[in-house]
Point group: C2
Chain length 315, copies 2
Amino acid sequence: MSVFTRVTEAELTAWLSDYSLGQLLQLQGIASGIENTNYFVTTTNGRFVLTLFEKLTQHELPYYLNLMAHLARHGIPCPAPVANRSEQFLGVLNGKPASIVSRLSGKSLIQPSSTQCAAIGSMLGEMHLAGQSFGLSLANPRGAAWRAETAQQVGKFLSAPDAKLLASEIDFHRSHELSELPQGVIHADLFRDNVLFDENRVGGLIDFYFACNDALLYDVAITVNDWCMGGDGALDEARTRALLTAYHGVRPFTADEAELWPVALRVAALRFWISRLFDLHLPRPGEMIHAHDPEQFKRILQQHIASAGNAIWLE
Amino acid sequence: MSVFTRVTEAELTAWLSDYSLGQLLQLQGIASGIENTNYFVTTTNGRFVLTLFEKLTQHELPYYLNLMAHLARHGIPCPAPVANRSEQFLGVLNGKPASIVSRLSGKSLIQPSSTQCAAIGSMLGEMHLAGQSFGLSLANPRGAAWRAETAQQVGKFLSAPDAKLLASEIDFHRSHELSELPQGVIHADLFRDNVLFDENRVGGLIDFYFACNDALLYDVAITVNDWCMGGDGALDEARTRALLTAYHGVRPFTADEAELWPVALRVAALRFWISRLFDLHLPRPGEMIHAHDPEQFKRILQQHIASAGNAIWLE
């Protein structure tokens, strides 16, 4: 569970005196998430989420918080950070950097329909367009350098064929970069559990703490690899086409993006295979383990390699 | 009804292409308000209100729109203007300055309880505190100069006793200014129809187009004169004490404010007596008439004068 740092009602009431959020009515720890401490907070002004950042620092956080504020101001349904009386989104609570953001409605989906995949495709397109006017920039901390270095670290835990696959994929992407494609702010982790749905409507995009600047197509690939996946590591055709076509209706893909789509799918799968291998084999000391199965993304990667000349694209 | 300028779905869809709000799902004119054209707008991103400003200009609007954005960023439940791709809250639609803002939930109350009066008192205090860090300033366009000038214009329509009352009140307030009291951003029109309630919770403060910088106590008096009024022009004691005590719990009144409370009640009543006289006797040509009864605020004013030494104050 995700309450690493406990906050009492008295502590929160004192902290909230620097905000215009009214009187605290309810405080409830949230039992999910592995990086931060999260609480649902209800005040006389409404429903909010309090986050105490356990790893991210005062230096890294302004990018994420200002990005959420920027997107919310553009009407993207994402958590809007609340400013304190000093006009700051970031405070300190119980020794940790802390922020309080608006709470969105809706629930994560387990099995999205094609209609819901289209909805997330459109929303991702809207988010990419709205992000174009965001003033800050952050290079992807899990880009090519991180992939190569982390692959090196986890390679020794792998079987010979897996180690070979990993090494050859690292090589492949060295000569197949997405850096010439349209760039911008990407969510970089828009899995189903980071989207709240209200029936067929996207009620909220959450958890922007992997957001960065990178190829927009890479973000689409990350999203497709989760939302449109079949049981066997191969993409479901109907859902994939629905998501891509809806995205294309908001931000049309360029010819270069169409050509590099199979590469984007592969590198997006590779990134999560590597991070899951790392979390499994090299857990940080004292970490709450919540390791996802790396095999899943290895299979997805293998399927993408197998179907590379024949990737599912627009309707 | 308040659709002075018609907007078709096709026109709105074209206009929304400059926003990140998704696809238009529903457009519905709002049959209330007398100053602007308002529509409820539902898109795939959520629920919004579109306003075409019929009288306010591109020069006046930034104060109001930036104020709403400022308060929303501080967690005050008020309409949050949506920025377009050029980072502007204000656009032009069908030849009128236009803005699209978030739509809040709740309904206006007709007969607020003491609990609800306390809720609006707290919220007004929170709004005044949050407004302290707002960077723009606008002198009250309906301050002392406007009162004197407008009283002059409407005087000739009044009976002799009413004209005498009006003139003597204008004189009284010349020597009883609130300008030494704590100043800040005030809503200046926080009547029941400008507040959306969700049971006993304030769901939203709306219609900020009379907002300005003035004495905070004056805003409290305007609010009390509407929310806490009995049937006979005299304040209801329980509701008045509840509102004031709740406000005081958020932003404590100063001793000077306590002393000038009877004056604030009188000048707040006078302002609405004058504007209602003006709307009744000097309607602007072609205006949709929606004149409220000036007599109501004359009676309120007379009651305040009668009970001046004995005004209801904190619990």
